[in-house]
Symmetry: C2
Amino acid sequence: MVTIRDIAKAAGVSPMTVSNVLNKRPHVRESTRARVLQTIEDLDYRVNVAARNLRRGRTHTIGLAVPEVDRPYYGQLAAAVIQYGAQHDLHVVIEQTGRSRENELTALALSRLRMYDGLILSAVGLGESDRERLRVDFPVVILGERIFKGPVDHVAMANVDGAQAAVAHLIERGCRRIAVMHGPLGGDTDVSTLRHEGYRRALAAHGMPLDPELTMTIDEFTPEKAAEMVVRSRAEGLDFDAIFCVTDYVAFGVLRGLADAKVAVPREVKVIGFDDVDLCRFMVPALSSVNPDHDTMARAAVDLLVARIEGTQDEPVEIVSSFRVVARESTASS
Amino acid sequence: MVTIRDIAKAAGVSPMTVSNVLNKRPHVRESTRARVLQTIEDLDYRVNVAARNLRRGRTHTIGLAVPEVDRPYYGQLAAAVIQYGAQHDLHVVIEQTGRSRENELTALALSRLRMYDGLILSAVGLGESDRERLRVDFPVVILGERIFKGPVDHVAMANVDGAQAAVAHLIERGCRRIAVMHGPLGGDTDVSTLRHEGYRRALAAHGMPLDPELTMTIDEFTPEKAAEMVVRSRAEGLDFDAIFCVTDYVAFGVLRGLADAKVAVPREVKVIGFDDVDLCRFMVPALSSVNPDHDTMARAAVDLLVARIEGTQDEPVEIVSSFRVVARESTASS
DNA sequence: CGCTCGACCTGTAACGTTATACACGACGTC
DNA sequence: GACGTCGTGTATAACGTTACAGGTCGAGCG
């Protein structure tokens, strides 16, 4: 392996000078710099990142822990984080937690293996009760969920408000029996609970009753389960004229299920999702959704993490992203 | 920072013994092991991966260079590689190349920064002419495209055969004016060219003419462009009863475009894609596609890379994955 | 009783880089 | 001519881990 020492010898300088050239530090004569660079080229030298990391105490790598990269939402999130990370010269390693609280905590522990300079944790399993476990002496940013006043920085979605706006949108479009589809409730800070809360508030704000029959709970956030659930509900004669889905991915399944049940969208039933994933607008019918401004979230998360790494951040910060309801065919007035 | 030396001191052993415990090496008395482990726990010690990497000359990290993670196909690929990588104790860093040949070459160069033990390159821009550039003294596996007899291992899709089968499927379902939608042709090994070749062969095999009018070329592989193209073609009066799309992502756009043009799928026009992404079966109508067995591909790529890293691999290998046509609603006989 | 052997453990020297402090001319200034 | 200063470059000592080559000690054996 070609080392910095080999370059130094070949170029007739000290290793330190080579290092200075590599790191674009001043105090190197132009002619020397050129000679060193030429030697590097000639010998095809590459710096050994491991050695550099050890010496510098920085790896320039951050971890991004997401439930599953192959879900559209997390794919987009990952893409955005990778992109903004690159702007800060950060590499991004993706850890998949598979939506388990267990693995999310493991990711937190793993990250402390000093492998990363910091960790962005897109948590779905962690709850209020894990607040103390987050108190690590390691740069961490929680992304997405809402852990109130946790000990770490947090970029949250406007889950409650966004959901409320989505449901309000359905009400404005004339829906009166609005179903909601989400995962198990009961957590305190998970998406299902928060967005269900928004659903409740919207109904309340419009003086509409909360009908427990209209709550559809699926145990996994997959289109499969969503489609099955819709078909079954319909077969059982459940009557609704709209469904608010906790995520777009679930909504895709709902659209499919409604098609299977021969229910016309949006004529008979209107559907709205949450996340505003790219594919929404290519669905047939195009899916209305709540856009939580992913790009800003990803950027904020990276920026916060960088600040934390640099040590220029003090008190934990909580950023709540803005949102807007994007109306498409699936909620068009008939 | 707590180091191995601190642990050694506190446990009353040498750093080497701590290292032996950490690495589960033999020749450590049970009582000593327990004491060391306890000390590690007490002091909340974590090994410094950078130091270990430097010393061992391995980073246990591989790079995965894909065009864009936020495309369903690459998301699924990334998920699979991360999963199989984990089985080999490998971390995966994702590099986005943005479909440019330039960046793919950069990824190759970057990877040689000894940051990774190896690289899986899902190349879309590289061509036959770059064959020599691939001749690096670094473990690399090319995934997806087809560079014949290149100097590196290669896990290829059955692009030509798969496409041919897809088009044959359309012909069997009674289609006679089959359009094809793909990116710019002219490369020698890119998806568009290879799959177009399969299209040509299928027509030829069934004694059907190749009508240049039915070739729709889009400059970007996005649903947007695909939808626009379909709408425009239809508006211009182009007559076709099926479209073979170079990828599912493009096919999603085509379905959308056909809906916009008020064309019934599959009654008036049948559509088939390629990749068999998860979402295919939730489209309305559900999208027929060619399944190239991603999981096997991802597994093969990781296995090959590991073998290459271990040095137990000699001659470059070329693996072509199997495929099968998955028929769904979008190609159902009316 | 001396010798070998194996189990357990340790000391030393790297791995390749860079922070720090310092060296050495040359030049300007008083 | 002594002194500071600036620009350029170097020597040394880490960073935290692990490979390697011993070292010790008790048991087993002839």
